[in-house]
């Protein structure tokens, strides 16, 4: 924030007053709802125990502790491998659905998106039911062939679950990028004798690189910062679980939990920065004609068989948790057997009454949060890519860093900052539901920002220059040319923010003040805290998944429509 202020006054104005005002407004928003709340929690990492004076001894302790260094390495390893496997899953889906006249492409895109909206807790629980040591697959394997596969064991288990969970980030961003490639780019390569996988590897994929990297860096950072999955798989020697374990238990007064949080933030920002660096100095704007997109080919019968085979295999894998959840929601008892003992609808009856309230809250919160995110996302992407405003990258980095802030830290920060502020009726500001929305918006902003950033990166500046040349002001150009051209990316960003906000839990848990303000994820958490069976929780989980999937599917349809309207055909 200060960087912008200082440079604006010190240097010659390099931007319009409107842009400066916009930058300052965003900086103020991020400062108030992200930087300051987090700083109130994280400053502990740099204070000496007992005296509150500045010190780096805690960092020294971190480096010296074998457990933390092992955790750091494990986190890197798991994140990197998850990116690899998520790519292996996402690439074929993105390629097949954007490049071929593939029936039900929208359906595939939606189904492929589903893992992302698997609400916390239930995902890993459902995966255990199928792939766990005594899950359906292993029970059958043991029965038939007398061996078991440790899908869910240790770090490999985490990689497995994370790849399946987070590959949609790559799928979504890569698909958006693929749609934006000028068809002539591909045709030129075909014309020069390139086809098939080589064409993809040498031309199509590099051109979609901004989208891929946006997705891959998200996967990396999310896996790096995710604590729920390792904890549910009982893997503790990773950084995020270590931070969480400390901040929420005996370490709460100790700086080390916050030191780990700082390390998480730094590593995440570094990952984002590296992915930006990889694209630096390269021109990826290929939408010279303002739309178009790759031609969709009709598959040969052989390709179709192969293609559908790949898609079905992948979808079967990624939808396993959902299938498990569905079975669980109808199961009476499911214990040490490949399938439940019997089926019932009683669990749905149990959650029926409360679910409508949760659904309403979730829809309101997630849509507002998604809306805030795309507005901020477009604005920040524009400032970063299209202006020379000094310090603009800081906005980008600050917003991206939100990804790395553990939800608990943000939640505590909000309570500290806003609980003292009272509303006119005497209730604290922090207990007003809008705070949940703001926390969700901040937590999910990086998703929307990456999508908007990639979309804008692909639009040639000349299209804006043309508009300005025709007398449009900067603001009008953004509204009438830039935003419509970015529509696909913006919508992708909204969908990601919306649907992940809809199942976000960690910050919500700290901020929910009453059941009547609670979203679905909170309801799920409450229902899953039961030793009497997971049935009601699973039923609510199914409701959540269906709800978000429906919204996603509708958005997907809109994207398809807008692509058609932009002139895919003749």
């Amino acid at each position: 924030m200060t960087a912008i202020l200082a440079t604006v006054s010190a240097k010659r104005l390099t931007a319009t007053p409107g842009q400066i005002a916009l930058a300052l407004a965003i900086a103020a928003f991020l400062g108030l709802f992200l930087v300051l709340p987090v700083a109130t929690v994280l400053y502990v990492a740099f204070t000496e125990k007992g005296t509150s004076t500045f010190t780096l001894v805690n960092i020294y302790d971190f480096v010296r502790t074998e457990l933390f260094m092992r955790s750091l390495w494990n986190s890197f390893y798991v994140s990197a491998m998850s990116v690899v496997w998520a790519s292996v899953v996402a690439l074929p889906l993105a390629y097949l659905t954007t490049r071929f006249a593939f029936r039900g492409a929208a359906l595939v895109q939606t189904l492929g998106f589903l893992p992302l909206i698997m609400p916390p807790f239930v995902g890993a629980v459902a995966m255990q039911l199928f792939f766990g040591r005594n899950g359906s697959v292993n029970l059958l394997l043991d029965d038939w062939f007398d061996f078991k596969i440790g899908f869910m064991e240790g770090l490999n288990g985490v990689i497995f679950v994370q790849s399946v969970h987070y590959f949609p980030f790559i799928l979504i961003n890569l698909s958006a990028a693929l749609r934006n490639i000028d068809r002539a780019m591909e045709e030129a390569a075909q014309n020069l004798g390139s086809s098939g996988f080589r064409l993809f590897r040498r031309i199509v994929f590099p051109l979609a690189m901004p989208g891929y990297l946006a997705g891959a860096s998200l996967v990396f950072v999310k896996v790096f910062d995710d604590l729920a999955t390792p904890l549910l798989l009982n893997v503790k020697d990773m950084l995020a679980p270590q931070a969480y374990l400390r901040v929420t238990s005996i370490g709460i007064a100790d700086p080390m939990g916050y030191v780990i949080s700082v390390v998480l933030v730094v590593a995440s920002v570094a990952a984002m920065w590296l992915s930006a660096l990889a694209l630096k100095g390269r021109d990826y704007s290929t939408t010279q004609r303002g739309g178009g997109g790759l031609a969709r080919r009709v598959m040969t019968p052989f390709e179709a068989v192969y293609g559908y085979g790949v898609v079905i295999l992948i979808l079967a894998l990624v939808l396993a948790p959902h299938l498990g959840l569905l079975l669980l929601s109808f199961a009476t008892i499911w214990s040490f057997s490949p399938l439940p003992d019997a089926y019932t609808v009683a669990h749905y009856a149990r959650v029926f009454g409360e679910s409508s309230l949760y659904i309403k809250n979730t829809l309101i919160y997630a849509s507002i949060a998604g809306g805030i995110d795309i507005v901020l996302g477009v604005a920040i992407a524009y400032l970063v890519l299209r202006t020379k405003l000094v310090g603009r990258e800081w906005l980008d980095w600050a917003a991206s860093a939100a990804l790395a802030i553990p939800g608990v830290v943000l939640g505590i920060g909000y309570l500290r900052m806003f609980y003292g502020v009272t509303l006119p009726d005497g209730t604290p500001l922090a207990s007003f539901w809008i705070m949940i929305v703001l926390a969700l918006a901040i937590r999910r902003l990086p998703y929307a920002l990456r999508a908007c950033h990639a979309a804008l990166q692909q639009i040639s500046v000349s299209l804006e220059e043309a508009a300005e040349n025709l007398g449009a002001t900067k603001a009008r150009t953004v509204r009438r040319v830039v935003v419509p051209l970015m529509a696909g990316g913006i919508l992708a960003g909204f969908v990601t923010s919306f649907s992940t906000a809809a199942v976000e839990l960690s910050a919500t848990l700290m901020l929910v003040q009453s059941n009547s303000d609670a979203p679905l994820a909170y309801g799920l958490y409450v229902f899953m805290q039961s030793a009497a069976g997971r049935g009601p929780g699973a039923a609510l989980g199914v409701v959540a998944v269906l709800l978000v999937a429906l919204c996603t599917f509708l958005s997907q349809l809109i994207i398809e429509r807008s692509q058609k309207a932009k002139g895919m055909g003749h």
Binding site: A184, M185, E187, A188, N191, L192, S194
Partner: protein, 365 residues
């Protein structure tokens, strides 16, 4: 230049036979037949939406026709995918890959063909030299001017020694001055390589100046094929006459009386039709502005046709004067060479428009 020797391949003919193509109810190409001779610089000319680009993309393999076939050097390529056709295409947007340097762009096709590394570098050098961009190989496309980008696109295409070169409106993204220069360069290059080339344009001047022959297209149908001169002098129909150069068109009807056939211009003026002239049904009288002359109101003698007219306006063009004259209700253009000191005809005055019988065109739509 040994560069050319090592790039050129024997020129091949392109035969397009019985092509039909529809998108739903939209019949985009209707029974297209044409033959392009080996080494010819051939243009598909027509207004936008006439199907010329679609036809070019058919040759490149990016579209599939419903019927008919395309042959290159006598070999049917209709069922080959684009990457096996060996036809080089220069795209309207150039489609240079922004993530590769100029050299890598040009080397791409050779790499795809599995050419040895050293040979690739050699041929990239040749191709870049050919378009005069040998010194810019390490730049990225975004760092080049429009003309340079266009030349890289050409170099990238010819580097693979295609059997046929396809140019899709290659000059449309250039400014007027560059356009003249580049089209000359293209023509030279094509001559030197001896490559059969198809050039798609909506600009008749471009087609006229560089092409050996032109296929004029409208509404998915080939209107006429010929050299630029043939098309200008002997257009097959009103569309061609109008599309290439300025054409004066007088509507009317044919009357067959005892004294031979007459064309009665709307308004009553009768024009005798030469006995050897072929006049299609529903034809109109067409002539070029520079073929007509203007004299005073007194009727001139001789074989020429004389039509009474009124001077409506005039424009001084330097080498000539363009008069707008009214024949009945129709206004036509007449170009008269300007001679220094000559007295110009006054606006509003009556005059006589003279036309040599042999230069009259009888054209139907």
């Amino acid at each position: 230049m040994n560069a050319i020797a090592s790039i050129s391949t024997p020129a091949l003919a392109v035969d397009i036979e019985g092509i039909n193509l529809s998108y739903g109810a939209n019949h985009v190409l209707k029974d297209v037949n044409l033959t392009i001779r080996p080494g010819e610089f051939f243009a598909f000319l027509g207004p936008s939406g006439c199907g010329k680009t679609t036809l070019l993309r058919l040759v490149a393999g990016f579209n599939q026709s419903d019927t008919g076939r395309i042959m290159i050097g006598g070999k049917d390529i209709s069922n080959l995918p684009p990457w096996k056709r060996d036809v080089g295409m220069v795209f309207q947007s150039y489609a240079l890959w922004p993530h590769m340097t100029v050299r890598r762009n040009v080397a791409f096709g050779l790499e795809e063909r599995g050419v040895a590394r050293a040979e690739i570098e050699r041929r990239v050098d040749i191709a870049l030299d050919l378009v005069g961009l040998g010194h810019l190989g390490e730049r990225r496309p975004s760092q080049l001017s429009g003309g340079q980008q266009q030349r890289v696109a050409v170099a990238r295409t010819v580097a693979v020694e295609p059997k046929v070169l396809l140019l899709d409106e290659p000059l449309s993204n250039l400014d007027a001055k560059m356009r003249v220069q580049v089209r000359r360069e293209l023509r030279d290059l094509q001559r030197r390589l001896g490559l059969t080339t198809i050039f798609v344009t909506h600009d008749q001047e471009e087609a006229n100046t560089i092409c050996d022959r032109i296929a004029v297209m409208n509404d998915g149908v080939i209107q006429q094929i010929g050299t630029p001169m043939e098309l200008y002098e002997r257009p097959a129909n009103l569309f061609v006459a109008n599309f290439l150069g300025t054409a004066n068109i007088l509507a009317g009807g044919i009357v067959d009386s005892g004294t031979g056939r007459h064309f009665v211009i709307d308004g009553g003026i009768r024009v005798p039709i030469a006995s050897d002239a072929t006049v299609p049904k529903g034809a109109k009288l067409v002539f070029r502005p520079q073929h007509a002359g203007l004299t005073g109101p007194e009727s001139p003698s001789g074989n020429a046709l004389a039509l009474p007219c009124v001077i409506a306006h005039r424009e001084f063009l330097g080498a000539s004067i363009r008069y707008g004259v009214r024949i009945g209700a129709t206004e036509v253009a007449v170009d008269v060479p300007f001679q220094s000191g000559e007295e110009l005809l006054e606006i509003g005055k009556a005059a006589t428009l003279t036309l040599p019988q042999r230069l009259l065109l009888w054209l139907a739509a």
